[in-house]
Symmetry: C2
Subunit: 106 residues, 2 copies
């Protein structure tokens, strides 16, 4: 839990998560979006991976990163529910992912 909020503390890492929203990206593609050097971004990715917020997968030369949205939503959602439950609602995540991967309020 502490790892997750520590990972979210840096603006670059939050932006990386947002960039991964629409699908996986190679480390280099991610690095190209920032002013930082490759190694710097690589370390940010390492922090996100250790927090369980992204996963990596090898594709030939490159390493593709993808977002683990459930972990982000569940962890942060748990905290929000514990602190200000009136304002937040976490939608239950379906085990069998079906594209939307959420259980609606119905």
């Amino acid at each position: 839990m502490s790892d997750i909020f520590a990972a979210l503390a840096h603006p670059t890492r939050r932006q990386i998560l947002q960039d991964l929203k629409d699908g996986e990206l190679a480390a280099g593609e991610i690095a190209a979006r920032f002013n930082a050097t490759g190694p710097t971004i690589s370390r940010h990715l390492s922090v996100l991976r250790q927090a369980g917020l992204v996963t990596e997968r090898r594709d030939a030369n490159r390493i593709l990163y993808s977002l683990v949205g459930e972990r982000l939503a569940l962890s942060v959602g748990d905290f929000l529910s514990a602190v200000c439950p009136e304002q937040m609602v976490l939608r239950e995540v379906r085990k069998r992912s079906n594209g939307h991967a959420v259980k609606a309020d119905a």
Copy 2:
């Protein structure tokens, strides 16, 4: 926005927010719940105040802190909605607060 996530990065500060969930507390009352010294907690409170997550109010000798739940929910909720909108829903906060202070999904 960055101030908020930076404030949430420390476990003590997250616990303080949670402790304030049920109402305002004096700085000393908060400090008594942790192993840290008064000045250390005072600085944590200062970080939370600068992030807009708590407000302070003087009561004679003491300074009472209270949670600003809307700011926490809206800021973090915005981020979650931007990164994994499928899993999170932010309940709209009612302007005229009525105890529950949320607009249900109806």
